[in-house]
Structure formats: C-alpha cells, structure tokens
Symmetry: C2
Subunit: 344 residues, 2 copies
DNA sequence: CTGAAAGCGCTTACAG
DNA sequence: CTGAAAGCGCTTACAG
C-alpha cells in the first residue's frame, strides 16, 4: 500500500457510490430518503454510507439548495446573567428543530451594523438579534436579500424586522402600582443604559403609573445594568436628606447592587427600603437577596421569536410582527408589597 | 417593468462582472486583493461591488477552498456564570482573528457524541469543547478527518485532542495549604458532578495536600455545581455534631449556596466558618458574599486554546498538547487566611 | 426505479 | 494583466 492518501479523509457521495455500485445521484437520494428508491438499494447505500462514516457535506448542500439551515444569533451583554439563559434557550430550541446557530457578539447598534455583512456572507437563513438594534440601512439590506430578522427585547418600527419583547412598559406599571398600593410614596428609579429600550420602557411604564395615581415626582439615577452602577446609584440615593422608601431598578443585577449598598449603609431591606428588580435571574432567588422582581417569560419569548423567524423563512411574504409578552411580578422578600410600610 | 425578479436578490460575482465589463475571475481576484490586477480594474470592480452591496458568498468559497473559517464551539452549563464569560471571550477572540463560531450546547459526553456528526457536517475547521468530554470513537473520527479539537477544562489523554485547563489540582492544593496555614483543621469538600474532571481534580489536589500535612480525614458532600446543591450540602455539614470549620466548594455558585445556608443557621462567615470557592465569577465579589476563591485565568486559557487550535488548523502535523494554567487564590472576606481561626 | 447532466457561486491553475 | 475552464460536493429536473 504505497498509495498516497490525501491529508483530509472526508468521504464524499462519490466514494459511497463507487462502493455501492450505484450513481452518485442514487446515494444522494438514499440519504435524503427519496421514496422512489427501491428498498434494496436504499438499504445497501445507507449501510455503506454508515460504514464509511459518510454524512452529506452541509456546505455543498447549502450551495445548491440556497438554504443553510443556519440562523445568525447576535448576542450581547453576557455580564447580565439573563442573557446567557436566553442564549442557551435559543440554541436548544433551534437545535431541536434542526437548525444551527452562528454566534456573534455585539454591544451596540454600530457593532451590529459592522457585523451583519459578515453574518450575511455566510448566507444565514434568518437572524436573531438579542438586545441590540440595527440601523434602518442594515434592516433594509436584510429585507432586500430576503433574510428575516427578529429583534429580541428591542424593536425598530418600520424596519421590516419582527420583534419580540417582554412588555417592559407594563412591567414598570405593575411595579409602580404594587408599590403605591402598599403605601410607598417616595420612590426612585435606577436606570440601565439610556439607549436601551428595555430600560426606557420600564421607566416609562413606571412613571406613567405614578402620574396616574397622583405621584408627580420621583428620584432617578442613571446606570448601565451593572452591579456597580446599582451599588453606586443606591449609595447616592440613600445619602440624600430624604432618601427613597423604594427603589425600582432597571434589572436584577442593578437591584442586587442596590441591596448591597443599602446593607453597607445599615439600611434594612425591606424594613427601611424596598428594592425591586427586573428579569428574575437565578441570583434573584438566592437567600442573601430574595429579590422581588418582574420575571421575563423567557420560554414564551423564545418560542415566539423562533416561531416568527421560521415562519418568515418558510414564507417570505409574511409581514413583520411585534409581540410584547407580559412579565409577572414575583413577590419575594426585598419589598413589603402586601402591607403598608412602616411610615406609610 | 413587467420583468420577473427572483425573490432573493443576493448579488453574485457574475453580476458585478457584467456591470464592470470584466470576467467573473477578475471580480474574484479584485475582491481577494490579487496583486496582479491593474490598479484601474481593481478600483473599478471594487467600486461596482460596493455599490451593489456585493460580498463573496462564504459558502461557495468554502466549498472550493475547503476551509470554512468556522470553529464549532460546544458549550455547556450556562447556569454557571463562569461559562457565559468563557463563551463571550471565545467568540470575541475568534472574531477578532476573522473566525466564525458555530454554537452548540451539550451537557455530557453522550450529548457531545450525538452532536458532533452534525457539527462536522458543516465542515468546521476546528472544534472547541467546553467543559465536556467526548468518546474516543468520536475523537478518532475527528483525527481521521483532520479536524483539530481543543478541550477546555477537560482532557482526554491519547484522544488526539489538545486540552487547556486551569490547574485544578494545583488550585485545590493552594486552598488546602492556605487553610492549614491559617490553622483550620476540620475541613470539608462539597463536590461538583462526579464525572467532571474539574471537580475531581480540585478535590484530589485538596486531599493530597491535606494528607501531606498530616490531616488524614475530612468531610465530603456530593454536589452538582449548583447553588441548591451547595446550600443543601452545607446544611447537612453544619448540622453535624462536629461541623467543619472550613468548606472548600467545587465552584463559586456552590460556595455561595453554602454561605447562604450558613447564614440561615446563624453560622457566621468567616468567624464560625470559612468558605472558599473556585472560578471567581462576578458574584464572588458582590458585597453580600465577598468570596475567597481560586480565580481561573480566563484570558490566558482562552488565548492558549485558540492558539493551539489555530496552530493545528494551519499545520495539521502538529501534535496535540495539554496545557494547565495555574489559578490564583483571591483572598476576600469569606475565610480568615492570614490569622489563626478563633479556636485554632 | 435509476443515471447522466446541469448548476449552485465561488477560487485557482493554466494560457496567452 | 486578464479570461476561459475546471471543479469543490452536493440536489434535482429530465430522461428512460
């Protein structure tokens, strides 16, 4: 056997055909399960394919079918434990449906715009963009090539992209109403990034509900969805001459930082201060925090996103759709929502 | 314009060639930056390509070059905040080098084995498997097709796969030695999954060092790397007639659960109990936990993994390599390592 | 029921 | 400096 072997020993349908004594087309048909093939040939080809470890080259198939069965997933902000959960749920859901995921990370709309041409070069059949927007130019580009887009926890009206989001505004309202009902009056909001619709919408719902109930003013601190921002913002709030009785935070990590700041200042939670977050990440239910929060319905949001995306991949004539899925207020120990507060 | 337009408007090199009045090969060369092309044609072609929004089809290119520039990344255990960080670092590092990431999730060796044929069908140039192993059969399969594999925080000797891992055994030793030096004697280990080399090696190093210093026995509880497992295991340990003075946990999440259990039982950390973790996830430095832990050097581990993988992609004759990178003991508030404990 | 052939959109020797 | 042609590994009309 002085025969030269190529370095890479990937087996092709031609080799299978050779050994099976059939044409290459027949091999292709056997693996595709074409019903026209005779049982005998099909079994023989399959057996030989198996013994050689043959699997059709998905790249070659994609070129001819013009379908890669790949979804591009643009993720962001892995420092917030909510998003790894989203990422994992997306990949598992898509895999179970036979799809592959090409992963990218991008923090801002600009990153997304820079990245998208690279993603599109790989001919992804669809695009999921988590928690980041895109320019209308790039949105048009996607529409132009017929690549459907779903925005997750973001929306860009008239972009041609579908969007699935937690009802952040409604969530903010629920928090405001629960706090008011429990007698809290002096309230504060610690924001996330100002360019994030999640934070903006949560704040908007919160403020609207306060106004509707006659509460005209409240405190506000900027933030960026991080523990440190929550810690520092709460420090500033709690050192005020008239500190807030309750703080609503743009997300759970921020709320956790706020709780630690309160403890550092010997402000008791919930006796002296109520803290409410948004997301319901695993740490929210850790005993040290026991955080009251608005739970984002991850499973429903993922399910809706995938349904909308695959629907438009199958039928490109479908219109873009926006879905807002309500979150649920999860009552734990960081706020006394069922009784009037101490001085209420 | 009653002309029919195809649904998908992806532009090809042929269209660019047509408009530029050159051959399709010339378009390909212009975009590849072939130096033989005249400046004039190159610029003209590039300008037309730009105006049409043309980008070469990476799938077609891959078919001919037999290189996809895609790395398959098999991730696991997103519930442990350490791994999203790893995932993000990998994608960013690979992207900056011009590589794409095809993402899969798998919890066990069996999952990996089931998944790998799908990954390989996409002709990935290399494979990174995070925190899970693979059968030697699949490892052989990868070697056979010339697809290099790097295992991250796992190793499979003689598999042909490279491996990069934190020096878990050394980390366990450091913890044991620091505790003994500080005077702790009655010690415990809360394990992770028994099939995880990370947990096994940490425990081994811990036990070895104890034995070498004459400590012959210690307590042990099973676990699974989760908060709940840490909480429950610590509950059992602390209710013992002679509870441990210090608990070393297989990872940070487990340690955080253990701290919360201690607090629930009014056992003070670190006064009555030292708790030490492994990973140094962000939550380890949250004020509520202030966890002493062994930091895994993520950046160095990622850098080494990518270097080993790409090295073997460029030169398949390179041998598989195992690298163990030392972790650093980060001293925070959950253990008194610089003084003898109360009753020491 | 099966095969020969075309073609997906590129890259890259081979010519000139 | 540029073009015509082959070919990557498939799928899928088109024949028979």
């Amino acid at each position: 056997m002085a025969e030269r072997r190529s370095v890479d020993k990937r087996v092709t349908s031609h080799e299978v055909a050779l050994r099976a004594g059939v044409s290459q087309s027949t091999v292709s048909r056997a693996l595709a399960g074409d019903p026209r093939l005779s049982e005998a040939t099909r079994l023989r080809v399959l057996e030989i394919a198996r013994s050689l470890g043959y699997k059709p080259n998905a790249i070659a198939r994609s070129l001819i079918t013009k379908r890669t069965n790949i979804v591009g997933l643009v993720a962001s902000n892995m420092a917030n434990p909510f998003y790894p959960l989203v990422l994992e749920a997306f990949t598992q859901h898509l895999h179970s449906l036979g799809w592959r995921v090409l992963l990218f990370t991008a923090g801002s709309r600009e990153d997304v715009d820079d990245l998208l041409p690279e993603v599109l070069a790989y001919q992804v059949d669809g695009l999921i963009i988590v928690s980041a927007a895109m320019s209308s130019r790039m949105a048009r580009e996607c529409v132009g090539r017929g690549t459907p887009v779903v925005l997750f926890n973001r929306y860009v009206p008239d972009s041609g992209a579908s969007a699935v989001s937690c009802d952040n505004r409604g969530g903010g309202r629920k928090v405001a109403e629960a706090l008011l009902r429990a007698g809290y009056r002096r309230l504060a909001y610690i924001a996330g990034r100002e360019d994030a619709s999640t934070s903006v919408d949560r704040e908007r719902g919160f403020g609207e509900a306060l106004l509707e109930h006659g509460v005209k003013t409240w405190l506000r601190e900027p933030g960026n969805f991080s523990y440190e921002a929550g810690f520092n913002a709460a420090m500033r709030l709690l050192r005020l001459d008239e500190p807030p009785e309750a703080i609503f935070c743009a997300n759970d990590i921020t709320a956790i930082g706020a709780i630690d700041a309160a403890r550092k200042l010997k402000v008791r939670v919930p006796e002296d201060l109520a803290v409410i977050g948004f997301d319901d990440i695993p740490a929210a239910s850790w005993a040290a925090y026991n955080l009251t929060t608005v739970r984002q319905p991850i499973e429903r949001m993922i399910e809706a996103s995938v349904r909308l995306l695959l629907g438009r991949i199958e039928d490109p004539s479908l219109a873009a759709v926006n879905e807002f899925i309500p979150g649920e207020l999860v009552r734990r120990g960081s706020a006394r929502l069922d009784v009037a507060p101490k001085e209420g």
